[in-house]
């Protein structure tokens, strides 16, 4: 198995290339991850427990979960609809539509937040009307949800479009010709085919939704215990020089990131062929 071909790099070169690559990953990625958990438990488990259970931290955790619970399903429905339209039908302007769906990826998170302030903020276009009718969007839950939906917008669609394109239309057409309705076809034929890809997209959407900082920071108003999500709460603690509490809350989000990576690796390992069917 380890047959060395005559053209393979000599052992010393191979070993040093591997060492440099792993060293780079260790310094760039592993070190920060280790720092989060070390700092989080530096003052002991009781301090960690207190930091994550005090009322403001609890409020931040609840808000983060609520925001994710609203924005992830919204983008999920959008992603499935968009990939159905794009992958199962032909229409002019399709590639433009796909590029526009990708657009939020290339916009700075701060700019994503800013556009909603310009629309709904006190000095924004709809600001005076919203104020008259006593509707609060900026510095409140709706603004945070909007900003989160914006930054996580393409994840599900981007996962499903190539998958559904690669799977073609034959199975759906067969089901339809056998008399199935459109909805039955989607539920019994398409959905089982894309379920792992959909789960993958939802995982990525959720990780980003819970961790988004820049966009949410612009629209949230930073009201302690009210409009502070977990990342904003971390910033607040950090700027108060309450480092161990900041890292305690950060360790929760780092744990979420690790779980996401593990699930993702398992999905790729077990269902890799159903994730990027015919990718390369």
């Amino acid at each position: 198995m380890n047959r060395r071909r005559p053209l393979d790099a000599p052992a010393w070169l191979k070993a040093s290339l591997i060492l440099i690559a792993l060293g780079y990953i260790a310094v760039v990625i592993l070190l920060p991850l280790a720092a989060v958990f070390t700092e989080a438990f530096a003052s002991g488990l009781p301090a960690w427990l207190e930091a994550v259970s005090e009322p403001d931290a609890q409020a931040a955790i609840k808000l983060t979960l609520l925001v994710a619970a609203i924005s992830v399903p919204l983008n999920c429905v959008f992603g499935v609809a968009a990939s159905w339209a794009v992958a199962k039908h032909d229409f002019p302007g399709k590639s433009l539509l796909v590029s526009l769906i990708d657009l939020p990826f290339s916009v700075s998170p701060v700019v994503s937040g800013l556009v909603y302030v310009l629309l709904f903020g006190a000095g924004g276009w709809l600001g005076p009307w919203l104020q008259e009718n006593d509707i609060q969007i900026i510095f409140a839950l709706p603004g945070i949800v909007l900003a989160t939906v914006f930054v996580t917008f393409p994840f599900v669609a981007r996962e499903l479009i190539p998958l559904m394109q690669a799977q073609g239309r034959d199975e759906e057409e067969a089901a339809l010709s056998l008399g199935a309705t459109g909805w039955q076809t989607f539920r019994k034929v398409t959905l089982p085919n894309i379920k792992w890809g959909l789960l993958y997209g939802v995982l990525l959407t959720n990780a980003r939704a819970m961790g988004e900082f820049g966009a949410v920071s612009v629209v949230s108003g930073h009201i302690r215990g009210e409009t502070n999500t977990m990342p904003l709460h971390i910033e607040l603690l950090y700027n108060d020089y309450n480092l161990s509490a900041a890292f305690a809350v950060a360790s929760l989000l780092a744990g979420l990131a690790l779980i996401t990576l593990v699930l993702r690796t398992i999905l790729e390992w077990r269902h890799g062929d159903e994730l990027v069917a015919g990718g390369h």
Binding site: L7, L17, I18, A21, Y24, I25, V28, I29, L31, P32, L33, A35, V36, F78, A81, W84, A85, S95, I101, L103, S106, V107, S108, P109, V110, L114, V117, L118, L119, G123, W125, F150, F153, F155, P162, Q165, A166, R169, D170, E173, L176, S177, T185, G211, E212, F213, S217, M230, P231, Y238, F247, L253, A254, L256, A257, L261, R264, T265, V276, H280
Partner: protein, 308 residues
């Protein structure tokens, strides 16, 4: 995430619309009556396209056009004075400069990491490969405070360098460190599939013709991965220019020295200077669109070269 984006684009290029078997036969089968009106026999087109366009307009297009309109209604002179004030120009220099340096460092080491992950077998490979994706999953604020803790004078790395008078945190160098963390997966994940596709035959051919290892790398491997390298570089650069969460903790945020453009937007907003914030946002939006165009152009050229 974005590594999948590249795959997608490759797929969009490689998969022509699947020919419709119902219409292709010419003789309509049962259920083919739909196809007389539409090109696809599959229902739900109006509904799903409607939902897509509605949601896209509501969340992305209308807000972004509000930004553009806001800049346009202020007038050109007003735009240039706010978007190109001295402080804003200094912030662009910091943002673009640090993003460029970080992407360049990552291009070198990312190529090496991708090469090692594709070519060599070693224990713990799967773990290291999964770790490369961590910056995609780790919230930027968490990365920011962790990097600051490491590179501050009292941190693991900072305390080693402090005796030699080397300071990394609260300096522009700190921004580069944060952007290296953020950008690494973009480069590695873009190059990996290309290296895997390349295989070893071209190298062996080159070696047979008498090329040494360095010549083979320079004249055979590098030209093949160059488009992917440029794409990864552009993705990492674009992301780095807009990055906020991981940078502000470690940057020090001194105007004219280590203040990034996204932070200046937030500072302007806090002072209710909407015009200033809008101007800077437009410049950044144009920069990221420029990076996107570069990526599309590189991939378009590749497809032509490969005759796809």
């Amino acid at each position: 995430m974005t590594e999948i984006a590249i795959d997608n684009r490759a797929i969009y290029g490689r998969y022509p619309a699947v020919p419709n078997p119902v219409t292709a036969t010419g003789k309509p089968k049962r259920g083919a009556r739909f196809t007389l009106k539409r090109r696809s026999a599959i229902p739900g087109f109006g509904l799903t396209l409607g939902v897509t366009v509605f949601w896209l307009s509501l969340i992305v297009l209308i807000p972004l056009s509000a930004l553009l309109l806001r800049a346009a209604t202020g007038g050109w002179d007003h735009f240039t004075t706010t978007a190109f004030s001295e402080r804003a120009i200094a912030a662009y220099k910091v943002s673009f400069g640090t993003a460029f340096i970080a992407a360049a460092i990552n291009a070198v080491f990312g190529l090496l990491v991708a090469f090692v992950l594709v070519r060599y077998q070693f224990t713990g490979k799967r773990l290291f490969s999964a770790l490369v994706d961590l910056p995609f999953a780790l919230p930027t604020a968490v990365a920011g405070i962790a990097l600051t803790a490491i590179y501050a004078d009292t941190g693991w790395v900072g305390s080693l360098l402090a005796p030699y008078g080397i300071k990394l945190a609260y300096q522009p160098q700190g921004i580069v460190i944060a952007l290296i963390f953020i950008g690494l997966p973009f480069i590695v994940r873009t190059i990996e599939p290309v290296l895997a596709d390349l295989g070893r035959d071209p190298e062996e051919a080159a070696a047979t013709l008498g090329a040494n290892r360095w010549q083979t790398f320079r004249s055979v491997i590098l030209p093949e991965v160059m488009p992917a390298l440029i794409t990864g570089f552009a993705l990492a650069f674009a992301r780095g220019v807009g990055e906020y969460g991981s940078v502000i903790f470690i940057a020090g945020n001194m105007p004219f020295k280590s203040e990034i453009a996204p932070l200046l937007i937030i500072t302007s907003l806090e002072e209710f200077d909407y015009a200033g914030a809008t101007g800077i946002a437009i410049v950044m939006l144009l920069a990221s669109l420029g990076a996107l165009l570069l990526i599309n152009w590189v991939q378009h050229r590749e497809r032509i070269k490969r005759g796809l």
